[in-house]
């Protein structure tokens, strides 16, 4: 076990864990930030998506010793009151069924919009096809994304 200081949701956090521990489990087990979900552990489902310096990353694929100075944002830190435009669009479209995949979906979309405020259908599909929704909410996810002001 090694001690690390990482920046999560704007705060410096101290964690003791093995260097190869995926960030996913650091968040869930060490920091009790359980909004980030485990779905596959192999980078194939997107349930564990967080922002690393503003980019969407699969936290199950990022070992703790490679986090370094980068700043991590999880679903819990995306907005103060759940009022990020993506979260609001999700509520407006009542996207969720079981809801398990949705934190990962929201984190993927919000990172996309950071870097490409007006994605077209092809870009939305290309980005979002890394996130599985077993309940099949894809048409609502797409409608929600397209309703966000910047997307238009």
């Amino acid at each position: 076990m090694t001690s690390y200081q990482i920046e999560v949701n704007g705060k410096a956090r101290q964690v003791n864990a093995d260097p190869d521990t995926p960030l996913l489990w650091v968040l869930r087990d060490n920091l009790q930030l359980v909004g980030t979900k485990y779905g596959c552990g192999v980078g194939s489902c997107g349930a564990c998506t967080v922002h690393v310096d503003g980019f969407a990353m699969r936290s199950c694929q990022l070992p703790l010793d490679q986090v370094g100075e980068q700043s991590i944002t999880t679903i819990e830190g995306l907005s103060e009151h759940g009022n990020h435009p993506v979260q609001r669009a999700w509520l407006d479209h009542d996207v969720a069924q079981c809801g398990y995949c949705q934190a990962g979906q929201i984190m993927t979309v919000s990172a996309l919009l950071n870097h490409s405020p007006n994605p077209d259908d092809a870009e939305i599909e290309a980005t979002m096809s890394g996130n599985i929704c077993r309940c099949g909410t894809y048409t609502r996810i797409k409608a929600a994304i397209k309703s966000i002001d910047s997307v238009g």
């Binding site: 489990w25 359980v34 192999v42 907005s79 979260q87 509520l91 809801g99 934190a103």
Partner: protein
């Protein structure tokens, strides 16, 4: 009826005293309570104002002194929306403003809430009458309380949106002001229910009551459950069906790994245990690894070396919904290629006759043409996004479990029997489920967690890795069906013959359409024993039969030179006017109703020559669904342009959420029809994670889904399952239109069997 009130304190759901002082709950009950719902108000940061005191009115609701109402949803939530729809039903009859409602998952308590089950699309249907009664009787008690307080006749008091009125004296009061008196009154026996035309909540879409918690990442799911001192456990199971535990080779080494507390082998059920219908489990013996947190346990799991051995054949006795049955579990390592050839062999010999009308043999003998087609589909894994998991804390002879499960009432007696304790000593908390699809009706993982907690004497969270979840499954079986149609010299359909079977169960529903619509009809079935475990998967058996039947009817219509919708309507007309046989398990008129609606909404036959479309309809779980699926092949890939869907499920409680569920069922159907497949080589599942098991993704989902409900005043019926099965037929028929080729083997766009 309880009359106690609580002072601004959220009621702890778990029966108190059980594990009384046991540690700090990091965000479960209190979180669910405090930041509960937004009651459909997207802009609200929190739900209704919390009152100073609560008054229990009946098991399903309590009213705060400020008029806020908490309604308990008895059935577990797995994304079907019961936590929104069930309170809507009660709130309608209570006549309360939806914005004043808090929705909470009820505690597991069979005495109070009956069968708390999610499955079979029965939730709303089974609770409809009870929830209305609960709301209406409570309203009546509030009216009586107000009448007493105002000293006026009961029939002069009216209600509106959570307030009581006596117009003659111009008085009014909020429900919260009389709730304390109301709670002391006897429960009225007969109360009038609202007229359907007066509904103001039912039929008006409300947003998911946990929507805000979902989008902000609140701990709602079983896997999010936390308790102080909680350890993490994982299991190791045989890599192949047909194998069992032999020995651990490096026990001490793995036990000594950092962060590991214990490694041991255990048997889930006692020898000779008579299983209930939901006690299915793939492997009788497992190895548990317990550690401080997930990653060390995952590493130990990788390092562990276990020798497995052949599982000899055995017979299981099961006492389930269908009475006492036995399951023959053969020995050996099975292959999907063998399954396929054995299914073909079985299809070629006579099966067990289940239904016969008229004289099908003669009709086939005298036919001028016989159309015969065979259809098959592979095993499927449920692949709920949240892998199986369970929290358990065993202290002495007390068991506390929490987690995602569809049937708490079914696992409770199983745990009691295994642990030699009375059911009263078991407390079960139902968490939100990250999907279920039938898989979580089989909650052996709850018992596994309890046995592990008992061994390590600590609270434990058992988590299946994705690989465990996919390879330790209770799968949708592999199926096969042969359809034959006899056509006479006048080009008329004279007989139908269906022979269906599977590994290890038959998918046949002998009394469903097209039974009843053809004079001569024969239905037979067969099955092949297997040691691969199977169970309910969204619309069990229907999810295969609908595809086979609706593809066959399409081809038959073409053979007869008829429009596929007209042909189905003709058959349904016959079944309505002059039904064949005694028992036909469908209403031909409602069946025809969804076909007519989907014909209209999709513009079928109206200048749609350029569209490559397939139609399909099916009845299951008491509801009717029809789809028209428009397909294009783009760059060699099937792209669903649009699915138009018509559903008759009676009264629709929460229309937008209902549409969401239908959309999900359609996407699920498209995905499984095109790609869904789990094959086995030497007993071992060929896929174990999402990098190999192809799940439908956004770029493959239909570009548009248009859901319509048949307006109805019939009590609600199922919705979670019915939209799913007909997708397979619509897809097969659209693929034919788009490619000129009929596909008979699912998945229609898979990579084919290995080996």
């Amino acid at each position: 009826m309880s009359t106690h009130s609580e002072i601004n304190q959220r009621r702890r759901f778990l029966k108190t005293g059980l594990l009384g002082s046991g540690g700090l709950l990091l965000g479960f009950n209190w979180l669910t309570g405090c930041t509960n719902n937004t009651a459909g108000h997207v802009d609200a940061d929190s739900g209704p104002e919390l009152p100073d005191t609560w008054q229990d009115i009946n098991a399903y609701l309590k009213i705060g002194n400020n008029g806020t109402v908490t309604i308990y949803t008895p059935n577990p939530e797995f994304g079907q929306g019961v936590m929104t729809a069930m309170p809507m039903i009660l709130a309608e009859e209570l006549d309360v403003d939806w914005k004043d409602v808090i929705s909470e998952q009820a505690p597991f308590n069979a005495e109070k809430f009956g069968f708390q089950f999610t499955g079979g699309s029965r939730g709303i249907m089974s609770r409809w009458a009870g929830l209305r009664q609960a709301g209406a009787t409570a309203r009546q008690m509030l009216i009586t309380a107000a009448a007493q307080q105002w000293e006026v006749p009961v029939n002069e008091v009216s209600t509106k949106a959570g307030r009581l009125f006596h117009s003659a004296s111009d008085r009014s009061a909020g429900y919260g002001e009389v709730a304390t008196i109301a709670a002391t009154l006897p429960m009225p026996e007969e109360v009038p229910l609202k007229e359907i035309k007066d509904f103001s909540i039912i039929g008006n879409s409300k947003k998911n009551v946990q929507g805000r918690q979902i989008v902000t990442g609140h701990p709602l799911f079983g896997i999010d459950y936390r308790k102080e001192g909680m350890l993490t456990a994982m299991i190791v199971h045989p890599p192949s069906f047909g194998q069992k535990f032999h020995r651990i080779r490096n026990l001490d080494e793995v036990k000594g790994m950092p962060g590991i507390r214990d490694v041991f082998h255990f048997q889930t059920y006692k020898d000779g245990f008579e299983k209930g219908g939901f006690d299915t489990n793939a492997f009788p013996e497992l190895v548990a690894i317990v550690g401080d947190s997930t990653w060390p346990v995952m590493k130990a799991k990788k390092a562990l070396l276990v020798d497995w051995q052949e599982q000899e054949a055995f017979v299981e006795s099961i006492n389930g919904f269908r009475g006492k049955t036995t399951r023959n579990v053969p020995t050996g390592l099975e292959n999907s290629t063998d399954h396929e050839s054995r299914m073909k062999e079985m299809a070629a010999i006579p099966g067990r006759e289940v239904r016969k009308d008229g004289d099908p043999e003669r009709a086939f003998q005298s036919a001028t043409k016989v159309l015969e087609r065979s259809y098959s589909a592979p095993f499927l894994a449920h692949n709920c996004m949240e892998p199986m998991n369970a929290f358990a804390h065993v202290e002495g002879d007390k068991v506390w479990i929490a987690g995602p499960l569809q049937a708490p009432g079914m696992i409770e007696p199983t745990i009691a029997a295994r642990m030699d304790i009375p059911v009263e000593n078991i407390d079960i908390e139902m968490t939100r489920m990250g999907g279920g699809f039938g898989r979580r009706a089989y909650s052996h993982y709850m018992l596994e967690a309890a046995l592990i907690s008992q061994q390590v004497k600590a609270p434990v969270q058992l988590i299946y890795s994705r690989e465990d979840d996919m390879t330790n499954g209770i799968y949708r079986p592999a199926y096969h069906a042969t359809y034959r149609a006899a056509i006479d010299e006048n080009g008329q359909l004279t007989a139908l013959h269906i022979k269906a079977g599977g590994v290890p169960e038959s998918p046949l529903f002998a009394n469903r359409f097209p039974a009843g619509s053809v004079d001569n009809y024969l239905a037979e079935e067969w099955s092949i024993d297997s040691n691969i475990t199977i169970g309910a998967f969204r619309a069990p058996r229907s999810n295969f039969m609908a595809g086979a039947e609706q593809a066959f009817l399409d081809e038959l219509a073409e053979e007869l030179g008829k429009d596929p919708i007209d042909f189905r309507l003709e058959l349904l007309d016959r079944a309505k006017e002059n039904p064949v046989g005694e028992q036909n398990d469908y209403d031909p008129e409602r069946y025809a109703g969804v076909l007519k609606l989907v014909r209209k909404k999709s513009g079928w036959g109206e200048g749609d020559q350029d569209l490559q479309r397939g139609v399909s309809a099916y009845f299951c779980h008491n509801s009717y669904a029809a789809h028209v699926l428009d397909l294009k092949i783009e760059d060699g890939k099937p792209v669903v342009q649009k699915v138009t869907c018509a559903i008759d499920c009676g009264i629709v409680v929460n229309p937008d959420a209902a549409a969401n569920m239908a959309e999900g069922g359609i996407v699920d159907g498209v995905g499984n029809a095109l790609y869904g497949e789990l094959t086995f080589t030497d007993g071992k599942p060929d896929k174990n994670n999402f990098d190999t098991y192809r799940m439908i993704r956004m770029n493959e989902a239909p570009k548009e889904i248009d859901v319509h409900f048949v307006p109805s005043e019939i009590d609600p019926t199922g919705l979670g399952e019915p939209p799913f099965p007909p997708v397979f037929g619509a897809m097969a028929n659209a693929i034919y239109k788009a490619t000129g080729e009929r596909r008979y083997r699912q998945p229609f766009w898979g990579e084919g069997l290995k080996g």
